[in-house]
């Protein structure tokens, strides 16, 4: 066989593989979009469910997911950003620093259901928070940390060393250099990392199975110690646990969740490419 033919065949195989990866993604999104679009209306996203969730809307689940995401942001951002600043600006290459990096890699790799077990063990039972928003938020926050840290660290490292040097040469302390030069310059990257982390928190089901999620609770939570419905868990419940659930309601719920997560995804991508292009250094 001619080697140029081999090249053609090889490249064709590569192209086909890429197509085989991409097409199913579009199919998944397309099918959910087409099947769910007919149900999703203002009423669907703004009303309480009734008749055992078979009618009405999914408002409390949407609110629940937004609350959980917001709470996760409050808990995870300070720790995540501080951890990032420490790793990229303060830490020297010691065994302790390497241990922190190993810990982050491991946190990123721990299965989500194990986070659920951990949250149940420590927050729900040991600290007596019960199944509550608070317990779920803390569980999700720890799960989100590695994503925030690894993405923002890249952003901080991308800020040229000269910026720090010049800040120091003007009499700025190390903290001033970080606060007024490094952090503002790295901000878009940090925000991207935060969005990517929160996106994961918003879509996860396993960690909230035993820590927050209410099967059916057609009212809004009153305190952080209340249970709450959440979109991913709600989708799981209505597609597997409730017999006779109308299919279009299931698709509608899937579509709302998908739109929520994809819009965060797109926001992160756009933000990143926008600032990458605008960056002067």
């Amino acid at each position: 066989m001619n080697r140029y033919w081999a090249q053609r065949i090889g490249f064709a195989v590569l192209t086909l593989s890429a197509i085989a990866v991409v097409v199913p993604i579009l199919v998944v999104i397309g099918i959910i979009l087409v099947q769910g679009a007919s149900v999703v209306s203002w009423e669907f996203i703004s009303c309480m469910p009734h008749e055992g969730m078979k009618a009405g809307g999914i408002f409390p689940a949407i609110v629940g997911t937004l609350l959980l995401t917001l709470g996760t942001a409050l808990a995870a951002i300070p720790v995540g950003v501080a951890g990032t600043v420490y790793l990229s600006e303060y830490a020297r290459d010691t065994w302790m620093t390497r241990a922190i990096r190993l810990a982050i890699v491991n946190l990123a790799g721990i299965p989500s259901i194990v986070y659920g077990l951990f949250g149940l063990g420590i927050f729900v039972l040991f600290l007596h928070m019960g199944t509550s928003i608070l317990a779920g938020v803390l569980t999700l926050a720890i799960m989100t940390l590695p994503v925030i840290i690894s993405t923002s660290e890249e952003a901080l490292r991308a800020v040229p060393t000269e910026f720090r040097t010049v800040s120091a040469s003007l009499g700025g302390t190390r903290w001033q250099g970080i606060r007024y030069i490094v952090l503002p310059q790295a901000l878009p990257g940090i925000i991207t990392g935060i969005i990517l982390g929160l996106l994961r928190a918003a879509g996860e089901t396993a960690p909230i199975l035993f820590t927050v999620a209410a099967f059916y609770l057609p009212r809004l939570p009153r305190s952080p110690l209340d249970q709450v419905m959440a979109l991913p868990y709600h989708l799981y419940v209505i597609s597997t646990q409730v017999p006779g659930m109308p299919l279009d309601v299931q698709y509608g719920t899937a579509l709302v969740l998908l739109i929520l997560v994809l819009s965060m995804n797109i926001a992160a991508t756009v933000l990143r490419s926008f600032f990458r292009r605008r960056r002067q250094w």
Binding site: L14, V79, Y86, V105, Q176, A206, Q280
Partner: protein, 320 residues
Amino acid sequence: MSQNWALSLYNILPGLRKRIAGSSGTAGRSWSEAVIESTIRVLGFSTIGFVLLIFIFLLREGLPMLWEVSPGNLFGTRWYPTFDSFGTLPLILGSAYVTVAAIIIALPLGVATAVFVREAAPGWAREVLKPLIEVLAGIPSVVLGFFGMHVLAPLVRNTLNAPTGLTAFTGAVLLAYMSLPTIISVAEDALDSVPKSYRDAALAMGATRWQTIWRVVVPAAGSGIAMAVMLGMGRAIGETMAVMMVTGNAARMPLSLGSLFMPVRTMTATVAAEMGEVASGSVHYHVLFGIGIILFILTFIINIVAASAIFKKRRKGGLR
């Protein structure tokens, strides 16, 4: 990095100078900064604390199973918790079976796609592929599980004429796609770190682009691709919701190739499905946490191995 950094530095300097000049006396500043810096330090170390805390709490709730359930029972082949049969073997094998099947599907697809993106794709194709793969990484696993239940499983059932579409194979296909983003991005990094001189040398010897890719670049990236596979496996073995929704959850030993088209039950699905219904402190509860310990240790080993290889490379200066 362009030459313009000096310019932009010039732009932000006046603000900085004003701030430094305007900040309160040196003594007050150094004191508050000491507080800030030590807070940052403590929070930096907190990640280690979290990993330890997770392990400690898993052990605390899971270890009692060792004296509550006899080893013969615990590693037996029957999982019927209501009859005090806590054989975890079918669950462990179930996870392994689905994971291996998923990797067999995902490895060629993932590596070929990574090679395509890095070496062969025209610019526009890369611009389309990369964000789409990120979208795939972001799709929640329940949504994929839901899709698997309603679209993929009926498809599998009809093509195979099987009694059910909820099989190990259905789960493996979903898992393959869920681990693809990981495999592709790690494999891309590996291809990226192959020195340009390798490619130049091969091309100078008269090799075609394909020969260069296939015989030089991919083998040189071999260890990185192995890493990609490991991390993909780590991702697949821990996946919960999608697997639970499409594999049928029958706790039977998957021992033959034919088991691929039968229901199977994984460790993650077992914990997710049963934890909600057990009394805390019961034997069943402890065994479910025990399964959590197994999952933790498995992913811990995978990540330690992968991370140490990445760190080694970074220190050698190979990875960018």
